[in-house]
Assembly symmetry: C2
DNA sequence: TTTCGTTATTCCCTCAGATATATTACGCTT
DNA sequence: AAGCGTAATATATCTGAGGGAATAACGAAA
């Protein structure tokens, strides 16, 4: 499987500059993060954990663990599941889950702005390459 | 090796809340990050890569790779090394390296403030546990 | 020229995280 | 009651990052 470029699997080499990750921890470690939120959106889109996982080339086992982790840490579950029944069952994102999605993307957007600000500060103080080549950075 | 708790090796479980990591990428991937800056400080303190690595229980191989990565990406090296000679040689942090250290800690401090701000915003909008027990979070 | 402790380099091992595979449980629909 | 596709769960496998150990290169000092 050559050169997949979704999710955060492949070794991504960022552009030179300030980068970071941000997430929310709960009582039991990671609670809400980028991958989890994307997973929630995929579940909303596909109506099942299986299809959601497949759509982002994530192992079902991993997806299930993430959903379980979020549901155990949240007071109100983010995802409700049905086993058996027509189509074998399925999964739905709850209102609480939707709020978590919105909350995280808001946080992410703030973070993006923060990084941009720091990046500008960096550019002002130190000479960072603008032209293509891997050019000077003066420290 | 039971329960080491230095560096960032052991699985650290954070307190509930907003967390993150931040770093600076160069032309060849990660350039300056927390571990690298701590390593620089240890090199300054001990005068050798070997001792610096030992002091933070990092494999020499890994420490050397980090130093090499920084030196290759920086216009002026962050560390100058001497092989052989009295005492076998040693390593010294350059002025450029010192500037990088200062720069990163400044960035880190800004980031800490950002996280605190977001944490406060989170607390204002949603009820997050204050009393000890793993109590309610209302979403 | 011998000594010494460090840098530099190579090879193999370990371990955690994720993946892959397989099996069972489930319950609506027909 | 049989079929179906999913959830749920257990087990085995893969993989990549880092660690450990071993060795060579180095060069000033004695």
């Amino acid at each position: 499987m050559p050169n997949k470029d979704h999710g955060n699997k492949t070794k991504r080499v960022h552009e030179p500059g300030v980068h970071g990750r941000i997430w929310i921890d709960g009582p039991d470690g990671v609670f809400i993060g980028h991958g989890r939120v994307v997973l929630l959106e995929r579940i909303r889109e596909h109506g099942s954990i299986t299809q959601a996982a497949k759509s982002m080339e994530m192992a079902y086992r991993h997806a299930w663990d993430l959903v379980d982790s979020m549901n155990r840490q949240a007071v109100e579950p983010f995802v409700v599941v049905a086993t058996g029944g027509r189509g074998g069952g399925g999964a739905q994102v709850t209102e609480a889950g939707e709020k978590a999605i919105k909350l995280f993307w808001k946080l992410q957007e703030d973070f993006r702005k923060f990084l941009e600000k720091e990046q500008r500060a960096l550019l002002k103080k130190y000479l960072v390459p603008i032209d293509g080549k891997k050019k000077q950075k003066k420290w």
